[in-house]
């Protein structure tokens, strides 16, 4: 078969990812970010590495040394996860690392809870769902995992979720944010219904919508809608709300880029 000469390939395609790869390895980059405290360091590192067992071991050691389990959640588990999120945002590590770290972190939180009677305070509560009639749930799973990884409590209503269940969950859970995922143009209209039913009931809260089929123009059509492109935008939206309140207009200004 025909072939290209090595030196001709660059005229046809450029592997920008290869050309741009950071000098530093992910491990080196992570090392720079870990907290220095010698009890916290191994926990953060175990989170980064996604090793549940090491996380638990580290927590045990820290608790044995007198650290408070609830404080450890924020000061070691969340910090370790913060390293992971930052590296992911900077494009240094990839999603599966984040997922594995998140799993390890959640295990760690569960462990901490067993070590105390106090109840940890999440950053906020978020209801996630995939639109009625739609089974595409991977995007939603990522959204939920990243939110959890950032310290939010996630009520995951799963996929193919009837409109009324979303409304009920919002009434019951009083979240700071609802997210919706739709990958089909035929299902995304449920978002508008959710929006209308919420408004009918006098409930005002940001409704972050994303997923393959959804675009900003569509989301901008209903009052509560805030469009997000990437799963990590869901986290950014939640953080923005924590910092700036739930004004939809401000959220749109920040996140509606198209």
């Amino acid at each position: 078969m025909l072939d290209l000469k090595l030196e001709d390939i660059d005229g046809i395609l450029v592997r920008y990812n290869v050309a741009l790869e950071k000098e530093m390895t992910p491990d080196e980059a992570a090392e720079e970010l870990y907290p220095k405290d010698e009890l916290v360091y191994p926990i953060a590192k175990a989170i980064y590495e996604g090793e549940e067992d090491d996380v638990i071991d580290g927590l045990k050691a820290a608790i044995d040394a007198g650290k408070d389990p609830i404080t450890l959640i924020n000061e070691s588990l969340m910090v370790g996860m913060g390293v992971v999120s930052q590296l992911y945002d900077e494009g240094i590590i990839f999603l599966p690392n984040v997922m594995m770290s998140a799993d390890a972190m959640l295990d760690g939180i569960e462990f901490c809870k067993t070590q105390t009677t106090e109840v940890p305070e999440p950053k906020g509560k978020v209801v996630c769902h995939v639109a009625e009639g739609d089974v595409h749930d991977i995007g939603k799973n990522i959204v939920a995992a990243l939110l959890r990884a950032s310290g939010y409590e996630v009520i995951d209503l799963g996929r193919d979720c009837p409109v009324d269940e979303v409304i009920e969950a919002v009434e019951k859970e009083k979240p700071m944010l609802v997210t919706g995922t739709a990958l089909m143009t035929t299902t995304m209209y449920a978002f508008k219904e959710i929006n209308d039913k919420l408004l009918e009931k006098g409930i005002q809260l940001p409704f972050a919508c994303g997923g393959g089929a959804v675009n900003q123009d569509f989301v901008a059509q209903y009052d509560l809608g805030v469009y997000g492109e990437e799963a990590s935008d869901a986290v950014k939206i939640a953080n923005f709300i924590v910092e700036n309140g739930e004004g939809i207009e401000k959220l749109r200004e920040e996140f509606h880029k198209h």
Partner: protein, 461 residues
Amino acid sequence: MVKKYTSMAYASADDMLFGNAKFPVKAGLGLEIGAGYTTPEINYAPRPQAGKSKEKLIKEYERITTDSMARMVQIGAPSVVLETEHVEQMTNNPEWGGAVAHAQKTIMEEYHDEYGIKCALRHTPGDIREDRDYLKLTGDKFDLLMESFEQVAQNGADLLSVESMGGKEVFDYSILRNDTAGILFGIGVLGSMDMETVWTGVADIAKKNGVVAAGDTDCAQANTAMFIAGGLLDKNLAHTIAIVARAISAGRSLCAYEAGATGPGKDCGYENTILKSISGVPIAQEGKTSTCAHSDVMGNLVMQCCDLWSNESVEYHGEFGGTSVQCWGESLAYDCSLMNVALKTGKAKDLRDMFTLSDKYRDPQGYVLAYDNAYRVGEAIAKDGNDNYLRAKNAAVECCNIINEGVASGKLKLTRFEINALTKVKDDLDALTDDSDKFMSDCLTRFKEEVAVFRPENYGL
């Protein structure tokens, strides 16, 4: 019992070519697929509002069909296939799907009668075999799916396809965690088992109705991996892992042909070149002219051996140049025209190689799917063709080897990240047993525990 493939359809990779399949398929109105020419396959999605009622949906598909056929004759295209991928309502209400097929076919017959344009209609019911939270592959949902096939086959569909979902609960969990065994188990073992059941059913229905059992694609798994992997700069999944999932999927998607399907394979099966090398069936493909539906890093390469050339899907709407189906359909038709000229002027192999070279070094996925390497993956599958697990594992191993050779040649350049991910997969694979039964029982134990939604009874386990 299905008969498994244990040898290759083609004596060498070089014998494979677009527009030519070892076993061409006659379908619809005067069309023969893989018989020396390529044909555009136009795909579309109804506008959201159109799903509201059966009547609206039928009207929407009538417009789509008329627009598509009209544009084809306006530019002088000799042949066309239309593919209707069901929206959920059409499969869940089998008579809706049947009514749409009937309405479309009526229009296509008019065009065929008036202009002589060769054409066929593919219907792809949705794999609706799931409850809210769990896959529910067998039982009433299975029967409903089969009823949908029955209805569309009776009412005008010429080609039957589905994107079946077996194994996806395990896969979804595993792909986001770089879990090699889970990927292999989900696609290669569970996926294959489910395919055998589904396609035995579809092949029977096709036979009974005198239509064609076409083919399946591992959309639910290998495409999901490809999508998560994304473009060169995306950071959600190593492209080296995505291509390993793809190689594995070839073992799985082959099951359709083993159960009686004859092709054309479905457009979004990027594993189709591998399947063609083993089975000799014609295949549909999509790439640079399906950017309306998704982006990939193999835009031209996938044309290398296609028999139908598809745009995957575009929402029906207006553009300056007509409706979206007209625009994309026209682009496809010209792509086919180019390939058909190549076939008539004796330049087809050159053109094929140019398609391939456009993207062979763009990404590890393209590298492995380049027809010469795809053929090698095919050989790895056929070698242990009788064992779903082993052949999928072989495909994965061969895939890793191919990439490593590419890297060694200096032409395929990978990021350190991609290389590391590949090394891990390769190590994982090397550590796996060669005993299918042991693999099965190990995985059953592990995934029953780790994946809450995994229900072994779906697979009769």
